[in-house]
């Protein structure tokens, strides 16, 4: 039985009203700590959305980034120690700055290109933890924040090194708040595909590359130079990104006839994403110009307005075709290019 301050969101020792006041009016650090206290309780009850009640977390004016970088100090408690807040000065730690800058570029991409205000469309804060565990060869989205390892220095470098990794992780958040694709089999591969697409587009826009200039590689620079590989994945040529005795060969298929049936990796979500990745590459290079303008636009509208949690490849392809027709006209060059892009990977719309 809770004898402290009872509140719709649970029991607090410090009354939530006081925490709210701090969250609304304190210094950046005080607000951060108040937020963490409220968040910790909310998390226990799976009530992240409850926090939007507080003015500090209400939808902010479009264009306002709220980045926070934490250091897990090689442990696994999240989020870890606060090391850089929004507009705070550069850290001496390169991975902190990469997480900060990469989140900013991803935010700017979604805002400038699609008029989307952060992951949830409502100015959601962008939290990243670096130095997670020791020699951790991974980066992941935990449903609320990004988490980055340092790599073992043998096979992998630190995971903040690649801008598309950061864009990839944040896009999992976008998908979570929109289509909600489940992380299994074909819907899961589409989920992975969306993260590769928009992760790549964030990088392409940052580098001012046209579709033809882009390298279409995911995770370039993550491998150390001991590894025979250019990147983790290639959207342009799935299956060719790496081939090394230590880690094996890039297993991605580039055609539906080579779809991989497996129980590993949630049904091969990182593997079969190669098929739609290749289709997107086909479309973007066929249309020319910057890949985010038309191809990215078709994909963004499809993701945010059409795709459902269990959408399969075939249906997704049809949705992109329909959206292209809506945006550019039936039988337009753009719509025909979508059809051809999918045909090349063995999917008929």
């Amino acid at each position: 039985m809770c004898t402290h301050h009872v509140h719709p969101f649970g029991c607090f020792i410090v009354p939530p009203e006081i925490l709210e006041n701090i969250a609304n009016q304190g210094t950046t650090r005080q607000r951060e700590l108040a937020y963490q206290a409220l968040n910790a309780s909310a998390q226990l009850r799976g009530q992240r959305e409850a926090l939007t009640r507080f003015a500090a977390f209400a939808p902010v004016a479009t264009g306002t980034k709220r980045r926070t970088i934490y250091d897990a100090q090689n442990g696994l408690a999240l989020p870890g120690k606060l090391v850089r807040g929004e507009k705070e000065k550069k850290s001496k730690d390169v991975t902190v700055n990469e997480a900060y800058d990469g989140s900013g570029k991803t935010y700017d991409f979604y805002l400038k290109v699609f008029n989307r205000n952060s992951i949830d469309g409502q100015g959601m804060r962008l939290d990243s933890t670096v130095h997670y565990r020791r020699n951790f060869n991974n980066a992941f989205w935990n449903g609320q924040q990004m988490v980055y390892g340092d790599g073992d220095g043998d096979i992998f470098n630190r995971f903040t090194k690649s801008l598309d990794v950061i864009g990839h992780e944040l896009t999992h958040g976008v998908t979570q708040f929109t289509a909600g694709l489940v992380y299994q089999d074909q819907p899961g591969a589409l989920n992975e595909h969306m993260s590769d697409v928009f992760g790549s587009l964030v990088k392409q826009r940052a580098k001012r590359h046209t579709a033809k200039q882009a390298d279409w590689l995911i995770g370039e620079g993550l491998f150390t130079n001991k590894i025979n590989g250019v990147a983790l994945r290639s959207m342009k040529a799935p299956g060719t990104a790496y081939n090394d005795p230590l880690i094996g060969k890039d297993p991605q298929p580039e055609h539906m006839s080579k779809y991989v049936k497996t129980t590993q990796d949630n049904g091969g979500v990182h593997i079969n994403s190669g098929i739609p990745n290749k289709a997107f590459y086909n479309l973007a290079t066929s249309l020319g110009g910057n890949a985010w303008t038309q191809a990215g636009h078709i994909w963004y509208v499809t993701l945010t307005e059409k795709v459902k949690s269990e959408t399969q490849f075939q249906e997704f392809a049809q949705m992109t075709h329909q959206v292209a027709g809506n945006l550019y006209g039936n039988n337009s060059t753009e719509q025909q290019a979508v059809k051809a892009a999918w045909a090349e990977v063995g999917i008929k719309v």
Partner: protein, 102 residues
């Protein structure tokens, strides 16, 4: 004691596997892993850890240990690890990496 370890998934989706028979290990190493298993309370761990429905790109881990008559298999992932289980996994990943190099 036989230990079978498999890691899959993750951003890179590069798997890590190793099968260990502790009777073939130097005594100090066998002791090491025994201690790690005990500290992680391996045989008390649930066969399927609480799954995070929203986590993306996390590793999946499967560990099977046979000790005499006792066999136990657990499935877990990055967001479900205790630090003791993480230490066990790090040890197993090192063994997997060492085996690959040979």
């Amino acid at each position: 004691m036989r230990i079978s370890f498999e890691r899959s998934g993750g951003f890179a989706n590069i798997s890590s596997t190793v099968d260990i028979d502790t009777s073939t290990l130097p005594a100090s190493k066998a002791k090491q892993v025994q201690k790690l298993l005990e500290k992680a309370r391996f045989f008390d761990q649930p066969t399927k850890a609480q799954r995070s429905l929203q986590a993306r790109d996390e590793h999946q881990y499967q560990i099977k240990v046979t000790d005499g008559a006792q066999t136990h298999t657990i499935e877990t992932s990055d967001t479900a690890l205790s630090s003791d289980l993480a230490n066990l996994i790090e040890w197993l990943e090192k063994e997997a990496a060492a085996k690959r190099k040979r």
